[in-house]
Amino acid sequence: DAGVTQSPTHLIKTRGQQVTLRCSPKSGHDTVSWYQQALGQGPQFIFQYYEEEERQRGNFPDRFSGHQFPNYSSELNVNALLLGDSALYLCASERAGYGYTFGSGTRLTVV
């Protein structure tokens, strides 16, 4: 049984560009959350998707948006990239009554 799968594992983008990160949840999980982890810090909650809708959101600007598909997979989109967006982006999936499972993340570098 595969856990949470994220793609790509690494990517490099230029300031001002847009990026899309992808997440496939663990089998049986229906809720996906995204976190940003800057180097040397703990993960920070970006938003959560359930039933294809954003259910909760953290303190991130509108440049950060997402989507959840009928198969529960999810995308994180970041527009107008800034150098400060460089981080490890983590996806976590869950099912009601159960805890999170985190993926290994996508390392985004903005140059």
Binding site: V4, T31, S33, Y35, Q37, L39, G40, Q41, G42, P43, Q44, F45, Q48, Y50, R55, Q56, G58, L88, L90, A92, E94, A96, G99, Y100, T101, F102, G103, S104, G105, R107
Partner: protein, 113 residues
């Protein structure tokens, strides 16, 4: 691999010794708390959790203590092994519509052989 916690506090222990990692949390309304282990290049891995109506919970080689009076959480690892070397984060959670974790700053644990 890349280091997750370049500027985090570090705890160095000798292999076989017990380790105690501490964490302060902020939200007195949080209803459960979790400890995660994060190795370089990987996502956080669940270690143990505790509900706010408990003050102690034990797992295999690990114990979590919760002191709500001072908003303090600790993780005790017995007989620390080299494979325990990682960054450890505590996280607090207040379930409203689903889990939304607030992570602490993290502690690097280094185990010396």
């Amino acid at each position: 691999g890349e280091s997750v916690g370049l500027h985090l506090p570090t705890l160095s222990v000798q292999e076989g010794d017990n380790s105690i990692i501490n964490c302060a949390y902020s939200n007195s309304a949080s209803d459960y708390f979790i400890w995660y282990k994060q190795e370089s290049g990987k996502g956080p891995q669940f270690i143990i959790d505790i509900r706010s109506n408990m003050d102690k919970r034990q797992g295999q080689r690990v114990t979590v203590l919760l002191n709500k009076t001072v908003k303090h959480l600790s993780l005790q690892i017995a007989a620390t092994q080299p494979g325990d070397s990682a960054v450890y984060f505590c996280a607090e959670n207040k379930r409203e519509y689903g889990n939304k974790l607030v992570f602490g700053a993290g502690t690097i644990l280094r185990v010396k052989s």
